[in-house]
Symmetry: C2
Subunit: 357 residues, 2 copies
């Protein structure tokens, strides 16, 4: 198949630090090329890929992510301008890009499928409603998919990770681990509270370069740091893998309906159980009692950490191999693309969705 793959423009592929969406797009792109598909990747020009790379922005404009939404549109324009060269386009970018995808589908007929990487919040639901007859969608969890009951999904495909990048160990150090952006939704402050209650060591790591992240960290996390509870900053892939490998457990105290949560899978791959709050996709990722514990309160999280020794690290890794491998991920996409193409060229020719008229 001739596939146009649209990554977000904000981080080069593969991302060196933060960039969860970019990383799964990278895995998918490389996997599809290895299986013989003709893939053109639309990403920043400093990306590395086996696919044909096409770009507007030579260097990933990461520093403009919060303020320059036109960059996303210009990036998508470049891809959709080449629409006639593809059997299908797979869009991982935002609403502006997907809107052009709907337009292309209407005018040129190149089918477009969009993976939804974010939560089903009200603005997203409202904006996507207008595209529902002109795009097909892939969800990353059933929880996320339930939030968009009116969209046409061709598949639910959980994110994958490159398991080889997460060395396994069943010998653990005595620290707890928190990895995530420094925003309240990810719950670093709760991780700190749990560690203090247990008088345990805690290592925190995560991105902190946008203003809300700096403000949150300065107000709610930094004042609580000690010589046993410390912040490592944003870490690279190998450092992160090493942190997972030796952690007693990973805390995932999210405060929002997380649509996926790659951190949980990365931790499990390293043989490290996860203790997480029950929100969003968590019950689809963690098998309670097999790969970690799902809890509701700080008290329960404290209690669960005392029981992580009952989890078998080998089972954690096995669960990832079974459900979140690259090979399964790529094959699931091939099936979804086939479903999309089997619908034929007619599916985007109906009346424009207009629930607001």
């Amino acid at each position: 198949m001739r596939i146009g793959m649209i990554a977000p423009p904000w981080f080069a592929l593969p991302p060196k630090g933060y960039g969860g969406i970019e990383f799964v797009v990278h895995l998918l792109t490389e996997g599809l090329v290895r299986r013989g598909h003709d893939v053109t990747l639309f990403a920043s020009g400093d990306s590395e890929t086996l696919a044909r790379l096409s770009y507007v922005y030579g260097r990933a404009p990461s520093e403009k992510i919060a303020t320059h939404s036109h960059i996303e549109i210009i990036h998508g324009l470049e891809a959709y301008t080449q629409a006639r060269d593809f059997d299908l386009i797979h869009d991982h970018d935002g609403f502006g890009s997907r809107s052009m995808g709907a337009l292309v589908n209407r005018l040129v007929g190149t089918p477009v499928v969009a993976t939804l990487h974010g939560p089903a919040d009200a603005p997203t639901q409202e904006s996507l409603a207008a595209l529902r007859d002109s795009l097909r969608f892939i969800a990353i969890t059933d929880y996320q998919r339930q939030g968009f009951p009116d969209l046409h999904f061709v598949a639910t495909i959980p994110n994958a990770i490159d398991i080889e990048r997460y060395p396994f160990s069943d010998e653990k150090d005595d620290y707890l681990l928190f990895i995530g952006r420094m925003i309240a939704d990810k719950g670093a402050h709760s991780a700190v509270e749990v560690a203090k209650r247990l008088d345990a060591r805690l290592i925190l790591a995560g991105k902190i370069n946008e203003e809300p992240e700096r403000a949150y960290f300065a107000e709610q996390v930094e004042p609580l740091l000690t010589d046993r509870i410390y912040f490592r900053g944003e870490v690279d892939g190998s450092t992160k893998a090493e942190l997972y490998r030796r952690a007693r457990c990973t805390l995932f105290p999210i405060q929002w309906p997380e649509p996926f949560g790659l951190v949980m899978i990365e931790s499990m791959a390293a043989g490290t159980p996860v203790v997480a709050f029950r929100h969003g996709s968590v019950p689809e990722v963690i098998e309670h009692g097999r790969t970690g514990f799902i809890v509701e309160t700080i008290d329960e999280m404290v209690d669960a950490v005392n029981h992580v020794g009952e989890i078998d690290p080998a089972e954690c890794r096995r669960a990832v191999e079974e459900r979140f491998s690259i090979d399964g991920f790529v094959r699931a996409h091939e099936r979804a693309y086939r479903t999309l193409l089997d619908e034929g060229p007619s599916w985007a020719t109906g009346a424009w969705s207009s629930p607001l008229a």
Copy 2:
């Protein structure tokens, strides 16, 4: 000609209160239909027009203008989906819509011309640079056009007004007039200062329903109001015309590079001179000494108001008839459209502009 005319979605056409862009799009659309063109107007469904009306939003979503940019994109999508039905599309909407215009031009070949209604600020310059080979543009003043040296303009066409809506009078009352949005850029606070210095009556009128407008008004205007300096709120067209007609002069103390300034022309049509700060388009609109005075400071504005009796109201109206009439405006657009179509279908097939790569 078969013309697709894209108005912004935010206010119904013709606008009853605020909506300068919407009003000139209204004048253009009705004028083109009267001259025999086949025009489809994309505007909110509560608009009134002689053209064929096409819409997504049945009611203008005015209250969402500051926060819901996806509305603009969905609105534009509807128009561009019908691209094949038009000889050309004239887009008056924002960057997201114009980007789809560039895409349509590339894929379908329907030529798209966009009128720039805003100032040449840095974000606009940067975002439009990517569209420069796929769109043609119309500027509203030469000052504005100079801010976009790399774009392809087919014409500079000043905004027009419906002169009949502004009854003329050479008998004036003793008040000064300020009409404009309640934001610092428009300078209501300076108008108040001038009036206080002159111990003159001042009537202020203008839109105040977005949060920054409310904040500005509450902090910088409201505390200065007296029984001789008062705020009338947002006024309808006929009230506005009556305010112009009887004003001694209109103050236009802008603090930013105004790309056009309809208020100046409306005032002149009523036979009321304008005293304005020298910014942006002001020297292109006001003829110093004939239709008003162009000044640099508050002191100079105070002094100029004392000399407005030297301006002949009839000359003010005559200047508008000469330069800002609907008929001239519509004919200038016909010429611009012809220029666009005479370029032929090839002009949008070059390499994608990519100044940032």
